[in-house]
Symmetry: C2
Subunit: 135 residues, 2 copies
Amino acid sequence: MNIAQHLSTHDIKPSYQRIKIYEYLYEKMNHPTVDVIYKNLVGEIPTLSKSTVYNTLKLFIDKGITSTLTIEDNEVRYDAAVESHGHFKCTSCGAIFDIKYDFKDVAMNKLKGFEIKETQVHVKGKCNQCLTNKN
Amino acid sequence: MNIAQHLSTHDIKPSYQRIKIYEYLYEKMNHPTVDVIYKNLVGEIPTLSKSTVYNTLKLFIDKGITSTLTIEDNEVRYDAAVESHGHFKCTSCGAIFDIKYDFKDVAMNKLKGFEIKETQVHVKGKCNQCLTNKN
DNA sequence: TTCTAAATTTGTAATCATTACAAAAATAAA
DNA sequence: TTTATTTTTGTAATGATTACAAATTTAGAA
């Protein structure tokens, strides 16, 4: 994936900060919060401002190359994947797993005549590993 | 529904404020925010504090008689219904509709060996009425 | 009932994420 | 090079939530 080109294709001028932020989102795929992104990039970009992270993510969302998820209240996370998919969050280790689900299975029969723009599925519990480790 | 008794059954002493807050949640079923609850009750309980609303809702959640939903980032809402069900929010009029869905349909095959505690399904779009009114 | 202890409510201050905004820096165009 | 535009940055403002201690209410014991 050529990130600069991907940004350009979506009408986003590929500045250094924008490339780095998108690169982080895309390569880590770890559903980071703004704070996590900032802390991970400020070493490499010492002048980086949190404002830039906020601005950039807002731009990415406007242009449709990033989506948000809010599993816990007060904890907005960002995702380079924009196709509909769900998220499982382990309440023990905090890890987030992507889960696929079939759009039409999610009670869409209940929403006849409604125009659906976005669906989010969040599941919380304990992951495989934490269960075996008895965390 | 006898609210005082319902609270007592769940190990919550039925104070005046607690009864009123639960009553509001239960009778309106409008998925209110803290602010909405406060504004709607402060007329009847002039000394009511927002702290009380926060404290009370936290207590209700601990005791399992209230659940939260966060469809929009930064907008925590409360619900007297605790069974798994989904929510549709109309982006035009802001109304929230409950939707039933089948727990096991939501990609649970992907989560073998995981312990699932909670699922949330959020759908955004335009409701029937807004579509016909061309809002 | 009266006294005392515990629980609840309240108001204010502190915190934290996010937004607003204007100055500084970088980039592009003339 | 000069000028205009875009992007980045830092600080201040906002708003929701939490922390906390004082005031009030409730419950229990004497």
